[in-house]
């Protein structure tokens, strides 16, 4: 599994080097472009604050009250039988529905279990490898006025399921349980 770790380590610096070299070669005003693009990053980070505050408060209340533990005790045997850590279940359910809600859950899982724990890494991989199916469908079909979605929702959700299974398998192989 050394290769996967090496890719993780090398990928970002190499990509940055390629972008900078190519930008210079094409005579792009690199630094100015960088600053322009970076401004957008601030806008995005600030605009997600209300989404995260709402979701993290709800999750914190749910967990602190003991409700989370209570529901988990029911889910645990079922999920463990098919190899899914029960802590991940709420994230897997909410990931296709709301990206920001999932982001809140991912960070909550990392705060609870630590970013380098099995659960923390699995949550990170899950968050990174699937997308918000409902959002994508609503935005794209809504924008061009498509009323009959056909098989799109089914296909999207099944693909999410494949992504979740893949994330569990890959993280278990690469990092061990």
């Amino acid at each position: 599994m050394g290769i996967v770790t090496a890719i993780s380590l090398w990928f970002i610096p190499v990509l940055i080097a390629v972008i900078l070299l190519y930008g210079t070669y094409k005579q792009v005003p690199t630094y100015e472009s960088f600053v322009e693009g970076g401004k957008e990053g601030i806008k995005i980070a600030v605009s997600i604050i209300p989404f995260l505050v709402g979701m993290l408060v709800a999750i914190s209340v749910f967990r602190a009250s003991g409700a989370l533990e209570y529901f988990m005790s029911f889910l645990k045997p079922v999920l463990e039988a098919i190899g899914v850590p029960p802590e991940i279940a709420p994230l897997a359910i909410i990931r296709p529905i709301s990206g920001t809600a999932a982001l809140g859950m991912t960070s909550d899982l990392m705060a609870q279990h630590g970013p380098d724990s099995y659960i923390g890494r699995l949550a990170a991989t899950l968050q990174g490898s699937t997308d918000t199916t409902f959002y994508v469908l609503t935005v794209y079909f809504g924008a061009v006025g498509i009323k009959k979605m056909g098989d799109a929702l089914k296909v999207g959700l099944l693909a999410d399921l494949v992504g979740i299974i893949a994330a569990i398998v890959v993280v278990t192989i690469v990092f061990g349980y």
Partner: protein, 195 residues
């Protein structure tokens, strides 16, 4: 949908606190949850600014365009209904590249443009065509090269190696994209057999 989940989480939590006597913990959770969210977003700023800045250079240098030309032969095969030089193909490719580089904001308008063109190909009907379903399947499982926000969150929680999930994420996302394409094909053949 999100509205219901959100309200349920909070209300069930409060109801549980009433029965379980965990009111002090819930009170604390309300303020700590909000505080944590804001801290998290501030932590996100650093990496978002850096990455979107880098991506702007790639875009201005035409790197995204170049990559989409590289992928064109594969992608045209996925959309047999779309003529090779149709503008829809250009939009689909640029949307996929933007998604790959984590430029969600740039990807969405391109995706909508692609959908408009595909609707034209489909005679302006208000039902989803085969290409649209394929396009959305690929989009919902989009391949991400660098999961920027996830790395930022890991940094926030003092991970020893915040980027060590890049490789696994890449593998998982490729699996889900291949899965999406296969599932899409499966449903297409099932539809066409039914006539």
């Amino acid at each position: 949908m999100v509205n219901i989940i959100w309200v349920c989480l909070t209300l069930i939590g409060i109801a549980f606190a009433m029965v379980n006597g965990t009111m002090p913990e819930v009170n604390e959770a309300i303020f700590n949850g909000a505080k944590e969210a804001v801290t998290l977003c501030i932590g996100l700023i650093s990496i978002l600014v850096f990455w979107l800045g880098m991506m702007r250079i790639a875009e201005d240098a035409g790197l995204l365009k170049k990559l989409s030309n590289l992928f064109r032969p594969i992608v045209t095969r996925l959309f047999p209904e779309i003529p090779h030089n149709h503008p829809a193909m250009g939009y689909i490719l640029s949307n996929m590249m933007a998604n790959m580089f984590g430029l969600g904001n740039a990807a969405t308008p391109l995706g909508i443009k692609a959908m408009e063109e595909m609707k034209k190909i489909n005679g302006g009907k208000n039902e989803a065509s085969r290409s649209m379903i394929t396009f959305l399947a690929i989009n919902t499982s989009s391949i991400t090269l660098i999961p920027t926000t996830v790395i930022a969150i890991r940094m926030n929680y003092n991970s020893a190696s915040p980027t060590d999930i890049v490789g696994p994420t890449l593998i998982a996302t490729i699996c889900s994209s291949i899965g999406a394409i296969l599932i899409d094909r499966f449903y297409y053949y099932r539809r066409s057999r039914k006539g």
